[in-house]
């Protein structure tokens, strides 16, 4: 197994700042916008973005929730490993809001497809956008594209993009791992 660094901490920070500014361009004061981190790994990116918006760009009271998509996945009973559920935490109204899904890596698009179904359990959003730190090009199974993209990566199926954060015991770094 070999791995190479795709993004280091400094590069990640620059990208997150750029994406935060793009969000502000479209959502201004975030009055009718809610951020939803996709469990399990999207929540770290989402927390960072919330912190950036609130502290560096002085936008108060950003609403952030976590959405778990386990029970909405299309590979139940098809994958070898049992699916592991995580906590959903959405303490605000989604109905008629601009929803931004936040995830670390966009690969086949199936997770986002499941998230689109899952979020409807909480109401009918006005619109839904997708924010992803890494976009794995040419690997989509579904017609899903991000609105906010950190870095586009060409990776073959045998490779894995691994995003690590200080918060989950490591340093901020994105690896391309050859399995």
């Amino acid at each position: 197994m070999s791995q190479k660094v795709l993004l280091n901490a400094k590069e990640i920070n620059i990208i997150l700042n750029r994406l935060a500014c793009q969000l502000i361009e479209n959502h201004k004061d975030f009055k009718d916008t809610v951020l939803i981190g996709i469990q399990p790994r999207g929540i770290y990116v989402a927390e960072r973005i919330k912190k950036l918006l609130e502290t560096d760009y002085q936008i108060p009271e950003i609403k952030l929730g976590y959405l778990d998509i386990t029970f909405f996945r299309d590979d139940f009973r098809r994958s070898d490993k049992p699916l592991e559920a995580n906590k959903t935490k959405i303490n605000f109204v989604v109905e008629d809001k601009n929803v931004v899904f936040i995830d670390d890596v966009l690969y086949t698009g199936r997770s986002i497809n499941a998230a689109l179904t899952a979020v409807q359990s909480f109401g009918r959003p006005k619109n839904v956008e997708l924010f992803t730190l890494i976009d794995r090009r040419f690997s989509r199974h579904l017609p899903i594209q991000p609105n906010y993209r950190g870095r586009q990566v060409d990776a073959i199926n045998e490779e894995k993009v691994l995003v690590k954060w200080v918060e989950n015991g490591g340093e901020d770094v994105v690896y391309l791992v050859n399995k």
Binding site: T70, F71, R77, P82, A85, K87, S121, F122
Partner: protein, 310 residues
């Protein structure tokens, strides 16, 4: 999340503490799901479940059916009263006929102890025991322990007394297994005639005095007197039973601590428990019913995940 160690839920006796922990953890997620504006997930959309009730049931049947529908499974229902069982069909034939209709899972209640175990050895489908005679009622025990966890934080170290007709109760047996797995101290309380002969071999103590039992416990699980299973008279009169083993407000208030009161239903109000106790703040009877749906969703979901795609 790992997997259950079993392919069927036939009784608490056959599962491990790790299984119970996994079921509780999964039930937490489903409890959140059933409090959403839309209370349904699509996980089991390609699974068909048959609810076979060879014995009457209200709560359990509704709770299972709701759990199955909340998981998007297809559901068929069967009650023995209105079926060919009356014409002499055997259990295996009845179930095999139903399984030929491509059913993946069977939820069964049956008056004979061991009916679920027998079926699991003879047919290809995942079986959930919804009560077999006076043997086991695993989902009730799971939801009882889960309700204690939600109310008191954990089951380990808690003192639980099960009061009433222990002899005829599948809820009592399953509860004893579950509470022991989870590290609770358990006593049973009731007339000596309604105590099974070897009950102490399960590691529980017998207490014949209700007041003493209540003074000892943190949780009292009040069971119903199962008149329908009694072939002889086990106590002189219902009035005498109520005087000796009925829980009323006066007795509850005279204790020097606040205990949690549970009842698996159906309640015979005024017999084992009075209305003012059943409806009091110390009673978690309706929480038990709500938790029942989440627990059954978890059990069905986890068992279904072991049915491999064909």
């Amino acid at each position: 999340m790992s997997e259950l160690s079993v392919n069927h839920l036939l009784g608490i006796k056959y599962i491990t503490k790790a299984d119970i922990d996994l079921i509780f953890e999964t039930a937490d997620h489903f409890k959140e799901v059933i409090n959403r504006p839309i209370k349904k997930v699509p996980s089991l959309r390609d699974i068909t479940i048959a609810n076979l009730f060879f014995e009457n049931s209200t709560r359990t049947k509704l709770s299972f059916e709701l759990a199955e529908k909340r998981l998007s499974a297809d559901v068929i229902n069967f009650s023995a009263g209105a079926s060919s069982v009356k014409k002499g069909e055997t259990l295996i034939d009845t179930v095999n006929n139903i399984l030929s209709m491509k059913v993946d899972m069977v939820v069964m209640r049956h008056p004979n102890p061991g009916a679920g175990v027998f079926l699991s050895k003879n047919i290809k489908a995942s079986i959930v025991n919804a009560g077999d005679g006076a043997h086991e009622h695993p989902t009730q025990a799971l939801l009882d322990s889960y309700s204690i966890t939600k109310k008191l934080g954990e089951v380990a170290g808690k003192k639980v007394v099960i009061v009433g007709d222990i002899l005829h109760s599948r809820v009592a047996l399953s509860n004893i297994y579950a509470l022991k797995h989870l590290g609770a101290e358990v006593k049973v309380c009731g007339p000596k005639t309604l105590m099974p002969k070897y009950i102490e071999s399960l590691g529980v103590e017998v207490e014949l005095n209700l007041r003493k039992a209540l003074e000892w416990c943190d949780v009292a699980n009040m069971l119903r007197v199962q008149n329908e299973r009694m072939d002889i008279s086990y106590f002189p009169s219902t009035r005498e039973y109520t005087q000796q083993y009925g829980l009323d407000k006066e007795l509850l208030d005279s204790l020097d601590k606040e205990i949690v009161v549970m009842h698996p239903g159906p309640i015979n109000r005024g017999v084992e428990i009075t209305s003012d106790v059943a409806d009091s703040g110390q009673s978690i009877i309706l929480n038990q019913v709500e938790n029942g749906v989440a627990i059954r969703m978890a059990v069905i979901y986890l068992l279904a995940s072991k049915i491999k795609q064909q």
